[in-house]
């Protein structure tokens, strides 16, 4: 019983870390976007204020049970992926390292890939029940885009699996520690394919076709306000952090302490953000075909590279 209690507290700590870091990243991205636009931009903590304001809305509407469940589906996906992805590398010696050993140090990639699609699908159901046509259009766009970027992403992962005969995230981290080489250098093609897939995964321009504020009125979330939007916002932040940590674990050898973790994830996060700020938006079919073009080719190269070397 005590064990479970401690585990729960540690899981809470991980969740709070992810929430804080993810929200801060969101604010910093807004700040950076502002600076690129030659504005001052909001303060870095703006997202916290927004979240708190949404949380303290006094009135709200819902369109039925599935509308509630959609947000819950989204949250459960973020939390569970965060629990399964190793947050810190197993070799680290910081005093807080054991806090972030949740269920993770056995994490399996295929399991992770599928659990990560659970939320968007549940969210899609919630968006469907609102009956807003814009929501449904956004959902179909999002699912189409997912089919697009999943191909290079899976190819990169399969290339790694081929090279090291494992599907466990923790094994990849151990391999990187033992050999001293990050996998982004060991199989550069896999890293490039994964990063190109990442552009679609984080939905910044030119792949922000789901929300598309100008034509879809923010798409799937258009009927959500107050608590729903708060849940989605915080789960989105946690999910962003979880995905970034996964990338760091796979390609950059994980992080031994929190400072390194924040530095690495932030650097990685800047790729889609900076690419997005200066890009216009693709149409859906253009986006999907883009992913099936060069990224898939590089993914094939990655597999070839993994098979040959």
């Amino acid at each position: 019983m005590e064990y479970i209690l401690i585990k729960t507290l540690e899981a809470m700590a991980t969740f709070i870390l992810a929430f804080l870091v993810g929200m801060t990243y969101g604010g910093v991205v807004r700040k950076i976007t502002g600076r690129v636009h030659n504005r001052l931009g909001p303060p870095w903590y703006q997202n916290f204020i927004d979240a708190f304001k949404l949380f303290s809305k006094t009135r709200g509407i819902h369109h039925g049970a599935m509308h509630f469940l959609g947000a819950a589906f989204l949250m459960v996906t973020s939390v569970v992926s965060l629990m399964i992805i190793p947050v810190l590398a197993p070799g680290g010696h910081a005093w807080y390292n054991s806090w972030f050993t949740n269920m993770n140090f056995n994490g399996d990639l295929i399991f992770l890939l599928y659990i990560m699609t659970f939320g968007p699908l549940g969210m899609a159901m919630g968006a469907g029940q609102t009956g807003n046509p814009n929501s449904s259009i956004g959902v179909t766009r999002g699912l189409s885009q997912m089919v697009g970027f999943e191909i290079p992403w899976v190819m990169a992962l399969v290339a790694l699996m081929i090279s090291y005969k494992t599907t466990s995230v923790i094994d990849f981290m151990n391999i990187q520690r033992e050999t001293g080489t990050w996998l982004m250098f060991a199989n550069p093609f896999a890293f490039i394919a994964a990063v190109l897939a990442m552009l679609g995964m984080f939905r910044y321009s030119p792949f922000d076709i789901v929300g598309a504020p100008t034509e879809l009125a923010s798409g799937p979330v258009s009927e959500n306000g107050g608590k729903f939007l708060f849940t989605m916002m915080s789960s989105g932040s946690v999910f962003t952090f979880a995905k970034l940590v996964l990338y760091v674990d796979l390609f950059m050898g994980g992080a031994n302490n929190l400072v390194m973790l924040v530095v690495k994830t932030f650097l990685l996060y800047m790729i889609p953000v900076l690419y997005g700020i200066v890009s216009p938006r693709y149409r859906t079919e253009q986006a999907v075909r883009w992913f099936w073009g060069w990224p898939t080719f590089i993914g094939l190269l990655a597999i070839l590279y993994a098979v040959m070397f």
């Binding site: 819902h62 469907g128 009956g131 179909t140 608590k227 859906t284």
Partner: protein
């Protein structure tokens, strides 16, 4: 009399009695039908033991029947699905035409499938195979729609399969002198090399037709959607699995003994992978729930074929697991469509909207089944897909893995389209009168949906029967720890460590759902789907805000180049070519005496001309 024979005879007799009883009064027919299915099924569960063999002497032949662990696994699907669908079928068929014919063919199909599974010689196998084909053919044309197009397509492909199987049987008998399956498998080495390749290919053609492998799948989408929905669950869930059953036998016993076996395995695996991907894309473009599920069935069979063709123990485990799970969730989904058809009278996504509040139980079973179909973790579909990917990676089939991943990701699109099409979206006043389906229809589909949940949490329940089935067909004994061969399960320690994670998933889910609910009840109210943010407009009653037509248009545009190529067109071109050929022959046989006289004279003249060459 022996138990197996008795059960089969009960089914046969019951089918006839039901038909006759149905003529007296519909209620008598319903009752008789339920008794006919449930009593022999119960006898099967209690009375039949694995391994018992019985001989039947008829027409100078010895028919050998018996239950092996492999066929036990499949017969569980047939009998279980048969009972649930029978309970479902009674309210489904109420007030419809041709109830008697439906009951008759349904019972006969169940009997034929059990017969196939207990057959230990090729003669009874073939007989039962034909009974199955015929009864399902009659089901396909039961509603009298599209008999020309759908029925004939199914019939022609079944005939091709049947002839291929017959030919293989004849060759085997002439070479080996036995119809017994065991004999043909054991003496396979004594055949000539040509026959060794010919026989498996012929058999695989027969089984490939039944399991709708591309390019032999053309009949399946139409036939599945044209049959009554109460039967389609059995059709897609159990009947097409007979092809897989045969394929497992052929793959393991014959192709394993061939030096060229790996090549054939690779070809079949690629055909399976292609089936999975292409059928998924076609499913996305469908606007009818029946058609969508039919294509999705074809796609899921693709996964199973890949697993069977790869043939490592893990791949076989994955394939057989998916066989059982697919029967469950697809059975449930076809029941859902049937319930919707019964309650609303149509199955077109573009017409039905927002049934979620009218048919909540149907929606719940559809939701669970769809999550299982998409292969998302807490449910059983995921376990089989997981093992399949692992098996493929271990077996160095990397590109095939990518293909299957693609198929499975694209599968989300039609999964969402299905749920959105029927249950979500705007609630139109047109469907305000719709009520939940009767309990006898809802309970079977809920049971199947819950079954996928149970198997997803406790997959080891199914691993043991599959393990003994695999040992029966000749895999190494694993002591019940088959899943230890997977990287991931050995990584997780044991399958049991997966369960805490699933419980955590559930706990977190419930926690947040409750959080939102409690947080939401105060100050939150329900608004109808007409009250949405539409730039301040008030939608009128007749204004349809639903987004249903061209639902997946962006994706369809993306895959447009692919969709232009249909195997159907090639078959049609082939058929047209044949027709031209027949047209040409008709010019020779004009039916005019004078023409025939000229032919005779020409023939004689030719003989005279070449007499030196011919007669020396």
């Amino acid at each position: 009399m022996d138990m197996i024979t008795l059960i089969l005879l009960l089914f046969l007799g019951g089918a006839i009695v039901t038909w006759l009883g149905g003529k007296l009064s519909p209620i008598v027919g319903d009752m008789l039908f339920l008794v006919t299915i449930i009593v022999p099924a119960g006898m099967f569960f209690t009375g039949v033991t694995v391994g018992e063999v019985t001989h039947l002497h008829a027409l100078g032949l010895t028919l050998t029947w018996g239950l092996s662990p492999l066929s036990y696994l499949f017969s569980m699907i047939v009998v279980g699905l048969g009972i649930l669908l029978a309970i479902y079928a009674v309210p489904f068929m109420k007030g419809k035409q041709k109830t008697g014919a439906f009951y008759f063919n349904f019972t006969l199909s169940v009997m034929a499938m059990l017969g196939i599974l207990v057959s230990k010689d090729w003669v009874s196998f073939f007989i039962f195979w034909e009974i199955m084909t015929w009864s399902s053919y009659l089901m396909v044309i039961l509603n009298g729609k599209d008999v020309q197009r759908v029925g004939i397509k199914y019939f022609i492909f079944s005939a091709i399969g049947a002839y291929a199987m017959l030919m293989a049987m004849v060759v085997m008998n002439s070479q080996l002198g036995s119809f017994l399956m065991a004999d043909t498998f054991n003496n396979f080495q004594h055949l000539t090399v040509g026959n060794q390749i010919l026989i498996p290919i012929l058999l695989l053609t027969a089984f490939g037709v039944k399991s709708a492998m591309m390019p032999l799948h053309v009949w399946a989408p139409d036939a599945y959607s044209n049959a009554p929905m109460a039967y389609t669950g059995l059709f897609s869930g159990a009947l097409s699995k007979m092809g897989i059953y045969g394929m497992v036998l052929v793959m393991v016993t014959m192709i394993n003994q061939l030096p060229e076996g790996t090549l054939i395995r690779d070809i079949i695996a690629w055909m399976g992978g292609f089936t999975a991907a292409a059928a998924t894309l076609w499913a996305i473009t469908q606007d009818d729930g029946k058609k969508l599920l039919a294509w999705s069935s074809v796609g899921q069979m693709g996964y199973i074929i890949v697993g069977v063709a790869i043939g490592t123990p893990l791949a076989m485990l994955a394939a057989l697991f998916l066989v059982v799970v697919h029967a469950m969730f697809k059975g449930s989904l076809f029941m859902v469509v049937g319930a919707i058809e019964k309650q609303t009278g149509t199955t077109d996504f573009r017409e039905i909207n927002g049934l979620i509040r009218k048919m909540p139980w149907t929606f719940i079973s559809a939701l669970i089944s769809v999550i299982a179909l998409a292969g998302i973790p807490p449910l059983a579909g995921f376990v089989s897909k997981w093992m399949l990917y692992e098996a493929l990676i271990q077996n160095n089939n990397y590109i095939l893995v990518i293909l299957l991943f693609f198929a499975s990701t694209a599968g989300f699109l039609y999964c969402y389209k299905f749920l959105h099409g029927y249950f979500l979206g705007q609630e139109e006043p047109e469907w305000a009168h719709v009520k939940e389906a009767p309990a006898a229809m809802v309970i079977p589909m809920l049971l199947l949906a819950i079954g996928t949940f149970v198997l997803g949490t406790f997959p080891q329940l199914l691993f043991k029967p599959i393990d003994s089935a695999l040992q029966y067909v000749g895999y190494d004994a694993t002591g019940g720890h088959l899943w230890g061969q997977s990287i991931l399960f050995s990584e997780w320690g044991d399958i049991v460590t997966l369960q805490p994670i699933l419980y955590v998933v559930l706990a977190v889910f419930v926690f947040f759902a409750l959080f939102l609910w409690f947080k939401g009840t105060k100050g939150t109210r329900y608004v109808s789907t007409k009250d949405i943010s539409t730039s301040g407009e008030l939608p009128k009653e007749w204004e349809n805000l639903t987004f249903k037509v061209n639902f997946m248009q962006p994706f369809e545009r993306t895959i447009e180049p692919f969709l232009k190529r249909q195997i159907d067109k090639y078959y049609t071109a082939f058929g047209n070519g044949l027709e031209a050929l027949f047209e040409f022959t008709r010019r020779i046989y004009t039916g005019n005496g004078q023409t025939y006289a000229i032919y005779a004279i020409l023939f004689l003249a030719l003989l005279l001309l070449f007499r030196v060459n011919l007669f020396g």
